[in-house]
Symmetry: C2
Subunit: 341 residues, 2 copies
DNA sequence: AATTTTTTGATTTACGTACATCAGATTTGG
DNA sequence: CCAAATCTGATGTACGTAAATCAAAAAATT
């Protein structure tokens, strides 16, 4: 049996009430007594039974997700996973709310974050846009005692407690590695399609990709980045233009969303061009393109894992508890035709 | 506020005691009343508060892991993860015990399983050896109300509740896909190194690998499988022999353990031979070999995730609760030099 | 209708913690 | 040294469920 508050009281030679005052940092305990109790806690290795404590407090964790209203499958997937988490919220003692903000708009995120300052939820998870004012707003929330987790795209330099997303530099390098080796002895140009260079995760992917290509596969030259704003229509137009303008393109790295447009272009160019393609995010569209051989590999981050991890971390941080780092590491999944889930 | 037992009692027009009798399937309730209560439960959507229930019952989940005493890094990793789970057992209300049995020995597993029949733990997780008598022993345990999870290697046809491990056929196919594409335009022979064809996971990996090679890359011929019994020394000898006997070998798929021996061989052959290698299980040895370019890709199953998943599933099944399937899916990780964790 | 059996209700204690109240003890300041 | 302020103890209630006891009611049996 693990020790209880009663055991601390006995060990420290004080009453239950005093132990309670120390544990819940309530006033009315002399320094000396407080130390004595803390000593006993350490000695017998007491850890608060969170389940019982939450029961006694009728505690619920009010959590907020701030998500961009992007019209792409990946963000829809994230939203879907949050909704499923809402469905489970009873058993997990969470009360989850979603705030949708326009994409690529720092001020909207800032407004949302500031609106939360008074509400003081237990935790906030946000898909961060990389801007100083967002950083400041996040820091303010952290200072106010809210646990903050960045989702999908990080906000380095801020005081956020945790980042639930993949290492995007490694993702870019991995894409380069796959593309380079799949292309093998061929020679030609490689095109890169991004959403926006304003988003940190896209910048990082490009950075990793370009670095490894230069290091390991100098025989392929990179075309200037095409920014499709994660918009399928725009992507389709841009990729068509790129392909017709550059006949030597033999590989494409799509590091953002809006792959529906890319796939359309690939289909149209199919008989004439032999393209090796690495894309991000497993969606219904990219999945079937992978199966059909239009795409050669998909790099993915599991939205479900990210959302569940963010919730676990927000809860743990709200209670000042430790997490299991390995469990919360978001992995970069590599999908080929043959290991689709 | 979610409904409580009191709400059911009120809704069904019965007393708390009757609700309790129905909920915990205690005798002394007429069929008609029982139905009335169950109706109310459904109507108002009551779900038992597991935390409160466990508190009231002072419940602990006695769990048992049956692991083979294999001298390879992967199994050591599994054991290590179980130990870490033991360290967390206080907060998770688990009491975990490990039984070590000789590897590749069905009768030892059967003996262990039968020994547990009287003890009746809440759950048992085992690395199954694929044999009819093991299947029977597992089915007996399931019949006795113990939740059983197979770990790493499955036991199809048995009544185990869950399998916490990767899809090994897909793993083999993925290995073939990577090896085939990495080899590109080259021609030659491919060697396959396994631990033992007695273990289901190894058989399945081979099956997937051979099938995809035949389908997609007929230009490479497969050498007969080499069985290294997951023993580094033996593997080293066997691979050396294979390489010197077959000068046309250009690729190796190592689907089992004992890769320390393989890596030694690769190092020795390095200047003369240009080999493309895909191996399983990320360990200290395979990791550094990947970094050094001796191995081109590593397929991995995360032992930590497997163990934590097995525990979650055993607990849930013991309470007759649902799991989140996506959360419990064990992914096949593909590691290249650039996405190592 | 009387008796036995079965079913139901009312009540209590417990799990480990939180939180509040009030009385009593100890310390502090003057 | 006494009053005031501060600290500590004792006690009770609550959270949602489990489990037990005993009395009362209803049903089934004779």
């Amino acid at each position: 049996m693990r020790p209880t508050v009663h055991d601390i009281a006995a060990a420290a030679g004080v009453s239950l009430a005093t132990v309670d005052r120390v544990l819940n940092q309530r006033p009315g305990v002399r320094q000396a007594t407080r130390r004595k109790v803390e000593e006993a806690i350490r000695e017998i290795g007491y850890v608060r039974d969170v389940a019982a404590a939450n029961l006694a407090k009728s505690r619920v964790y009010p959590l907020v997700f701030i998500l961009p209203t992007s019209d792409n499958s990946f963000m829809h997937g994230v939203l879907e996973e949050v909704k499923q988490a809402v469905a489970r919220s009873g058993g997990e003692r969470t009360a989850i709310r979603v705030i949708e903000v326009p994409a690529f708009d720092p001020s909207a995120i800032v407004a949302a974050l500031q609106g939360l300052a008074s509400e003081k939820p237990a935790g906030v998870a946000l898909v961060a846009t990389d801007a100083p004012e967002v950083r400041a707003a996040v820091d303010d929330l952290v200072a106010a005692g809210v646990s903050v987790v960045t989702l999908v795209s990080d906000l380095t330099g801020s005081r956020r407690h945790h980042y639930a997303g993949v290492d995007n530099i490694a993702a870019g390098r991995t894409a380069a590695h796959l593309l380079g080796r799949f292309l093998g002895a061929k020679e030609g140009e490689v095109a890169v399609l991004a959403g926006s260079m304003l988003v940190r995760d896209h910048r990082e992917r490009l950075e990793g990709f370009a670095a490894l290509m230069a290091e390991q596969f100098p025989q392929f030259s990179l075309l200037p980045v095409v920014e499709g704003r994660d918009d399928p229509e725009l992507v389709n137009v841009l990729i068509n233009a790129t392909l017709s303008k550059n006949p030597r393109v033999i590989g494409i790295y799509s590091l953002g969303a809006g792959n529906r447009g890319l796939i359309k272009s690939l289909k149209e160019s199919r008989p004439q061009r032999d393209l090796t393609v690495v894309a991000h995010e497993l969606t219904a569209h990219t999945r079937s393109a992978l199966k059909d051989g239009l795409i050669d590999a998909i790099l993915n981050q599991d939205a479900g894992h990210e959302v569940r991890s963010a919730i676990r971390v927000m809860k743990a941080k709200a209670d000042g508890l430790a997490i299991i780092p390995a469990q919360e590491r978001i992995r970069l999944d590599i999908f080929l035709k043959d290991n689709l889930p």
